[in-house]
């Protein structure tokens, strides 16, 4: 056990919690060691916390909490790199951007963080040929997901949701 000073305070970490992003993250190429920190008071938001730079932590969220039908293709070389063979081997997190105006909170769906529970490696994958963008407004996505849930709950209204593409 190690006590480490991070952006979100002093935390105890154990070796097995450390995720290695070998090539860093875009904008933070020099940082490779992170942990996923759970804080019940902000659930379902989590922190991806650098253990090398006490100024750096990203608020992240499992994207399906926001966009229920989120899906993308993982290239074979990434699957190999992460040594994953099934969905449960992988944790997917999307980066939240939270400006002063909470109306404008956004989620980066074009560059999900993939974390392997098998070899504890992580990468921020930048999706190719995708409808997803780096900025999806949280409010719009939650509304969209709720509408989808309502529709699948059976009230088959012919009207579809034209607000989002």
């Amino acid at each position: 056990m190690n006590i480490i000073q991070t952006k979100i305070g002093t935390i105890d970490i154990e070796k097995h919690q450390i995720i290695t992003f070998e090539s860093g993250l875009p904008g933070f190429e020099n940082l490779s060691k992170f942990i996923v920190y759970t804080d019940d008071s902000i659930a379902p938001i989590l922190w991806l916390v650098s253990i090398e730079d006490s100024e750096i932590a990203f608020p992240v969220i499992p994207p399906k909490n926001v966009r229920i039908d989120y899906s993308f293709f993982i290239p074979q070389e990434v699957v190999d790199y992460l040594e994953i063979s099934k969905e449960e081997d992988l944790v997917i997190l999307s980066v939240l951007t939270i400006p002063q105006q909470s109306q404008e909170i956004s989620l980066n769906l074009i560059a999900p963080m993939l974390i392997s529970l098998i070899n504890k490696k992580g990468i921020q994958l930048i999706l190719d040929n995708t409808q997803y963008k780096s900025k999806h407004l949280l409010k719009e996505e939650l509304e969209r997901s709720q509408n989808l849930l309502k529709q699948s709950a059976g009230e088959d209204n012919a009207g579809s949701d034209e607000k989002n593409q």
Binding site: K7, I8, S23, L25, P26, G27, F28, S41, I42, A43, P44, I45, E55, I56, A57, F58, P59, P62, P63, K64, N65, V66, P75, E77, Y81, E87, L90, V91, I92, V95, L96, T97, I98, P99, Q100, S102, I105, N108, I110, A111, Q124, I126, S134, K135, L138, K139, L142, Q146
Partner: protein, 84 residues
């Protein structure tokens, strides 16, 4: 910055340690250049503006005010869990 002039179908070879990256000019037409990359699969190649966009999102994410998160987490429909 190293500047080289290349014609269509000519290439440059980048060698980093034991790794080779071959960049070929496939076509050029009115200011638009089509470029081919031959590199090992784990070498990531992105359009500059796409990569820059992710960089700037990551940087603004890191500037989040920690205290604001408690309020924001209330936006989410109650206690739903799900890893991916």
């Amino acid at each position: 910055m190293l500047v080289l002039t290349r014609k269509t179908n000519e290439y440059v070879e980048i060698i980093a340690g034991d790794r080779h990256i071959k960049i070929t000019i496939l076509d050029s037409n009115r200011g638009t250049v089509k470029i081919g990359f031959d590199a090992e699969k784990d070498i990531k190649i992105y359009r500059g503006e796409v990569y820059d966009e992710i960089v700037s999102q990551n940087i603004s994410s890191v500037n989040t005010d920690i205290k604001s998160l408690k309020d924001i987490s209330r936006i989410f429909p109650g206690g739903k869990k799900g890893e991916n």
